[in-house]
C-alpha cells in the first residue's frame, strides 16, 4: 500500500516539476512575438495563442503537486489551533466534498474532451490549432488531483487510526 501511495506522490511531483519548466517556452513565445512585431513588423498568428495553452497546461498539471505540498490556501483560524490528529480528522471529514467537486469536474470535463476529440475541435482563431489536447489534459489533471486527494485520505486515515505516519 505504502509503495503505491509513494508512487502516486512521486508521479504527481515529477509531472509538476517538469510542467514548471513550461514557463520558459511561454516566455520564448512572448519574446518571439515582441521581436516579430516590433523588429520585423510581422506579428505571428501562433505565439500569443500558444502561450495561453502552455499556461493552461501549467495550471492543470501542477495542481496535484500543489495539493501535495499543501499550498492551496485554507482558512486556518480554527484549523491551526487544534492538534495534528484533530487536523487529520477534519481533513477526513472534508475529503468527500473535495471528491464531490473533482468527480463532477472530471465527469463533465471528460464529456467535453470526448466531444472535442470526436469532432477534432479546433480553436477557430486565424491560426486554428486543435484544441482537444488541452481539453483532454484537463481530464488528466482532474484524475491526478483525485489520486493525490485519495493518497492524502488514506494517509490521514492511517494516522488517525495508528497515531503514526504511513
Amino acid at each position: 500500500m505504502k509503495s503505491l501511495l509513494d508512487l502516486i506522490d512521486t508521479f504527481n511531483a515529477r509531472v509538476g516539476q517538469l510542467t514548471a519548466f513550461i514557463l520558459f517556452p511561454t516566455l520564448f513565445c512572448i519574446f518571439y512575438e515582441i521581436i516579430a512585431r516590433y523588429v520585423f513588423t510581422k506579428p505571428t498568428m501562433w505565439a500569443s495563442e500558444l502561450m495561453i495553452y502552455f499556461c493552461a497546461i501549467l495550471y492543470v498539471l501542477g495542481a496535484a503537486w500543489t495539493l501535495q505540498v499543501g499550498r492551496h490556501v485554507k482558512i486556518d483560524m480554527i484549523y491551526s489551533r487544534i492538534s495534528l490528529r484533530g487536523q487529520r480528522v477534519l481533513d477526513l471529514i472534508t475529503f468527500p466534498f473535495f471528491t464531490l467537486y473533482l468527480v463532477m469536474l472530471l465527469w463533465v470535463g471528460f464529456q467535453f474532451a470526448l466531444e472535442s476529440i470526436a469532432i477534432r475541435e479546433s480553436s477557430g482563431t486565424p491560426w486554428n490549432p486543435p484544441i482537444y489536447p488541452i481539453k483532454s489534459i484537463f481530464v488528466i489533471g482532474c484524475v491526478m488531483l483525485l489520486l493525490q486527494g485519495a493518497v492524502k485520505f488514506i494517509r490521514d486515515l492511517y494516522f488517525v487510526k495508528n497515531g503514526k505516519e504511513l
Binding site: L23, L27, L58, T66, V73, I93, Y101
Partner: protein, 438 residues
C-alpha cells in the same frame, strides 16, 4: 426555494466547509456542485465547465505566472539587499533614516514584485536585524517593514490588480497606472509619520554612528550601481504599459528577463535559483487559478439562482445614496477580510459589486484602487492579517504576533486616511491613466 433562503444556505455551507479547513478552492467548488445539483439538474455543470475553460484560456491570466516568476527570481537575486544598502547609506545622517529608507526600498521593490508575502519576508530578513542592532524601537522597525511591504498590493505590478481587471473586465494597464499616485501618497504619509514620531520621541531611532555617517562619497556613489537594474526593470515594465507598446502580459515577460539579468549581474543566477523560482511559481499559479475555477463555479450557480440580482437589489435599496453603497461595500470587505484572503473577497464580491458601482456612475478603475487600499488594511487587521503573519514568521522569536499588530496600528490609521483621500478625490487614481496613449 426563495433566493433569500438559497443565499443563507449557500453562505452556511461555504463557511462551514471553510472553517473545517477545506482549502478555499475546493470549498467554492464543492458548494457550487451541491447547489447546482440541488437546485438545477447536473447538466448545468456543463455551463460551469464552459466558464472554467474560458477562465483557463484567458490571455490576461498568463500575466499571473509571469509576474510571480519575476518576483520569485528577484527575491533571490540580491536586488533587495542592494536596494536597502543604497538607501541606507544615503539616509545615514537622517534621524530614523533606516526606517524611512525601508519604506523607500519597499516602494521600489513593490514596483517590481507584486506579492506582499515575498516583499515582507525579504525585507523582514534584511532590514529588521539592521534596525534592531542599531537600537531602533521594535515597534517602529516592525511597523515600517510590514506596512511598507504591504504596499505591494497597491503599487504596480500587483497581482491584485490583474485579478481585479479580469473580474471587472477593465484594462489591467489602466489599473496599474492608477495605483501609482495613491501608492506614493501612502508612502509619503508613512514617511511623514516616521519623521514626525522620531522628531517627537528621538529615543525611537538613535542617530547613526560616526562610522555610518562618514561614508566616503565615492562609496556612496558606488552603492547607486545597485539601483540601476531595479530602475531599468521598473521603467521597462511600467513604462511599456504606460506608453501602450506592451500588454501587461508582455511587460511581465520583459520583467522576467530583467529579473534574470539582475540575478546574473549579481552572480546569483544558479540552476537552483531558477528551479526554486519555477517551482514556487507553479505552486502560486495553481493555487490562484484553481481558486478562479472554483469562483467561476460558485458565482455561476449563485447568479443562475437569482443571487446576483438579489444582492444588487438589496444593496440598491440601502437608504444611503451612492456613497452609502460604496461605504457599505467597504464595510463588507473589511468584515470578510477578517476571515478571507483578498483573492477570495475579490472573486466572491467583485462580480456582484462592480456592475452595481458602474451603474451608479462610479469608475471601476477607481474602485479597483479603493479595493486594493481596503486589502492593505485587511492585511494588517486581526484575526486574519496575512502581512502580520509574514512579518512574525521571519522576526526573532521574542517578537509576538501581538507586537506586530500593535506596531502597525499607526500605519493602519494612515492607510485609512489615505483611503478616504483616494475615495474623495478620484482624480488621484484616474488622472495618470487618462493621460495614457491608446
Amino acid at each position: 426555494m426563495s433566493v433569500e433562503l438559497i443565499t443563507v444556505l449557500l453562505v452556511v455551507t461555504f463557511v462551514t466547509l471553510l472553517i473545517l479547513g477545506l482549502p478555499l478552492a475546493w470549498t467554492m467548488g464543492a458548494t457550487a456542485v451541491i447547489f447546482t445539483v440541488g437546485l438545477f439538474d447536473p447538466s448545468t455543470m456543463f455551463m460551469t465547465m464552459t466558464r472554467v475553460f474560458h477562465m483557463m484560456l484567458n490571455y490576461a491570466l498568463v500575466s499571473v505566472p509571469l509576474f510571480v516568476l519575476m518576483g520569485c527570481i528577484l527575491e533571490k537575486s540580491g536586488v533587495a539587499e542592494q536596494l536597502f544598502d543604497a538607501v541606507y547609506v544615503w539616509s545615514g545622517r537622517l534621524r530614523g533614516g533606516l526606517a524611512i529608507g525601508t519604506i523607500i526600498a519597499c516602494v521600489a521593490m513593490a514596483a517590481m514584485v507584486g506579492i506582499v508575502g515575498a516583499e515582507i519576508v525579504t525585507f523582514g530578513l534584511i532590514a529588521l536585524p539592521q534596525m534592531l542592532s542599531r537600537g531602533y524601537d521594535k515597534g517602529l522597525a516592525l511597523g515600517c517593514i510590514t506596512s511598507g511591504g504591504g504596499m505591494a498590493t497597491l503599487i504596480p505590478p500587483s497581482i491584485v490588480f490583474i485579478v481585479y481587471g479580469m473580474t471587472a473586465g477593465v484594462s489591467i494597464g489602466d489599473l496599474f497606472i492608477a495605483g501609482i499616485i495613491p501608492g506614493l501618497l501612502l508612502a509619503a504619509l508613512f514617511i511623514g509619520y516616521i519623521m514626525f514620531s522620531v522628531w517627537r520621541r528621538p529615543h525611537l531611532a538613535p542617530a547613526a554612528s560616526e562610522e555610518d555617517r562618514n561614508i566616503p562619497l565615492k562609496k556612496k556613489l558606488q552603492m547607486l550601481e545597485g539601483l540601476i537594474m531595479p530602475a531599468l526593470i521598473t521603467l521597462a515594465v511600467l513604462g511599456s504599459i504606460y506608453v501602450g507598446i506592451a500588454t501587461p502580459t508582455e511587460a511581465a515577460a520583459i520583467g522576467c528577463l530583467g529579473a534574470i539579468i539582475s540575478a546574473a549581474v549579481n552572480h546569483r543566477l544558479t540552476w537552483v535559483v531558477i528551479v526554486r523560482a519555477s517551482y514556487e511559481t507553479i505552486w502560486i499559479s495553481c493555487m490562484l487559478t484553481w481558486l478562479f475555477f472554483g469562483a467561476q463555479a460558485i458565482i455561476g450557480v449563485y447568479t443562475l439562482a437569482g443571487g446576483a440580482t438579489f444582492v444588487r437589489n438589496a444593496i440598491m435599496d440601502l437608504p444611503f445614496g451612492p456613497w452609502g453603497v460604496i461605504v457599505a461595500m467597504q464595510i463588507i470587505w473589511v468584515f470578510l477580510g477578517m476571515f478571507l484572503d483578498w483573492i477570495g473577497i475579490l472573486l466572491l464580491t467583485g462580480p456582484m459589486f462592480i456592475p452595481i458601482i458602474v451603474s451608479l456612475g462610479f469608475d471601476p478603475v477607481w474602485f479597483g484602487v479603493v479595493f486594493c487600499m481596503n486589502m492593505h488594511i485587511s492585511y494588517l487587521t486581526p484575526p486574519f492579517g496575512p502581512s502580520v503573519f509574514y512579518m512574525a514568521s521571519v522576526a526573532p522569536p521574542e517578537i509576538s504576533i501581538t507586537d506586530v499588530y500593535k506596531a502597525n496600528l499607526p500605519y493602519l490609521w494612515l492607510t485609512f486616511v489615505a483611503l478616504v483621500i483616494v475615495c474623495a478625490f478620484p482624480g488621484l487614481s484616474l488622472w495618470l491613466p487618462s493621460l495614457m496613449s491608446r
